[in-house]
Amino acid sequence: MKRRTFLKNTIASSALVSIAGPSLCSFDSLKSKHLTILHTNDVHSHIDPFPADHPKNPNMGGVARRSALIENIRKENPNVLLLDAGDSFQGTPYYNYFGGELEFKLMSRMGYDATTIGNHEFDNGIEGLAAQVPHANFKFISANYDFKNTIMDGFVKPYHVFHKNGIKVGVFGLGVELAGLVDKKLYKETIYNDPVEISQDMVSILKNQEKCDIVICLSHIGYQYKNEPNKICDALLAQKTKDIDLIIGGHTHTFLDKPSVFDNLNGEKVLVNQVGCYGINLGRIDFHLNNDTKTSNGKSIII
């Protein structure tokens, strides 16, 4: 009896798959799609705007304004992926008093999809970060930090595939080397792995296994180090890897006027962007895609 039911079920499901499959495919024929990536980095607890008399950034930033901006963009295109490249913690008394609770609650309200782990996320110890995880309604993504032997084990994924209106967007995260930057007693048994090797593994999974249409690296390794030209950074990572479409960076508080473009190992273009710090800017990258195989060789980049 049991065997017979099993056979029935499998035949039924195979039939269902074979019917549903082609019909889904044909539904997708000759279409173009539009995905908007919005991103911040190194907001450092800047929840309120800078005061009007601030010598460097008067009247800049502020979460209430950022949320309005994001809502308006969502009205224009609902296919939005909202990402943060780390260091949302530390910089104003909001962090000292509430330990990152308000930062994560506001990011959740704004509909952030994911963040990577910045070095300042460890400022209240790895326990201090774990304590704030329940306030976050978004993914923590880091591929080169191994949290296996820490309290954060299970809360951080190496990558996540977002499905946005039929587009598969693979996002993997990278963190900066912690030794010498963060006190060991804060990050404890968190292991840092080489970003280039990890990126190649991630890209291979996201392209070949997960069949992603777009691959994004959410990085907190820094844009570039003038005095240490060989130190791994977003600019080098872009050139030493392949199949990454976009690197969204943080850590170095680099104010890029527009995204930088580098050639990867295959000579293909990679975009690298970072929008300074303190929530002063919102980065926006629009991807236009289509499934027209005849004319889709090559892409134009408008920056």
Binding site: T10, V17, S18, G62, L69, L106, K258
Partner: protein, 251 residues
């Protein structure tokens, strides 16, 4: 079992046929949007933040003490009033903790001029004052140094010509800036003795090129943030006690 394979086969075919119609990027546009006061806010966010902000402001702005003068790091060649103040209270608080935990007497406290981030204005002193003067999370460590390294510290001081906050030391120099003698707790420096120096973890790790801290005999982490030292001191006193004593003395 055969049927199971058949099911897998069909599914595979379907996947293949689907992946052939996957999407390719045809155009990418990038831009940066400035968040400034031209963007209207969403008031529900302000309402949400307000209780947090009010709590912080109430706590930050409650008066803890008074200062009878403005303490400013830009006034003074070898010492400043704020530098003396910071070094003295860090010495006092660190010495208590160091003795309790390690049964040793602290001899010196050395901080850095650059680490003082604001003035302490004449009048009401609040927790906010402590955050403004010391926004960083640095904490106090005690470094065991030989008398020789204390000499290096004195030379560093004279060559830097910066009024780094210092307590427990007097350095006598001549008119050519040559060191004549060094007193530690009013006793002449013994080159072979071990001295205990309180400083910030930033400086002990090589900040401001204070290389002499690297040649240490031992390091004791006190886990006491400099900002909390300030706050604890403000809570204890009515009026700040500030020393105008010279610690670099020109003969």
């Amino acid at each position: 079992m055969k049927i199971k394979h058949f099911v897998l086969f069909i599914t595979f075919i379907v996947l293949i046929s689907c992946s052939s119609s996957s999407y390719k990027v045809s155009k990418i546009e990038g831009s940066k949007i400035e968040i400034n006061d031209k963007i209207t806010t969403i008031s529900s966010y302000d309402d949400y933040i307000k209780p947090y902000r009010d709590h912080i402001n109430k706590d930050l702005d409650s008066v803890l003490a008074y200062s009878s003068e403005t303490l400013d790091k830009s006034k003074g060649q070898w010492q400043t009033n704020i530098g003396n103040f910071m070094a003295d209270i860090c010495f006092e608080k660190a010495a208590l903790l160091f003795e309790k935990r390690h049964q040793k007497k602290l001899n010196v406290c050395l901080l850095n001029h650059g680490g003082i981030r604001s003035i302490i204005p004449k009048g009401k002193i609040t927790t906010r004052t402590a955050f403004e003067v010391m926004p960083f999370e640095n904490s106090i460590v005690v470094i065991a140094l030989k008398g020789e390294q204390i000499e290096e510290m004195a030379s560093y001081f004279i060559s830097e010509k910066k009024p780094h906050p210092i307590s427990g030391v007097k350095i006598y120099i001549d008119s050519d800036n040559l060191i004549q003698r060094i007193l530690i707790q009013n006793k002449p420096l013994d080159k072979s003795a071990i001295y205990y120096v309180a400083t910030s973890d930033y400086l002990s790790n090589g900040g401001d090129n204070m290389a002499f801290f690297q040649k240490n005999e031992d390091v004791y982490d006190l886990d006491y943030k400099i900002r909390n030292i300030l706050i604890d001191y403000f809570k204890e006193v009515d009026t700040l006690k500030v020393s105008s004593e010279n610690r670099i003395i020109i003969n």
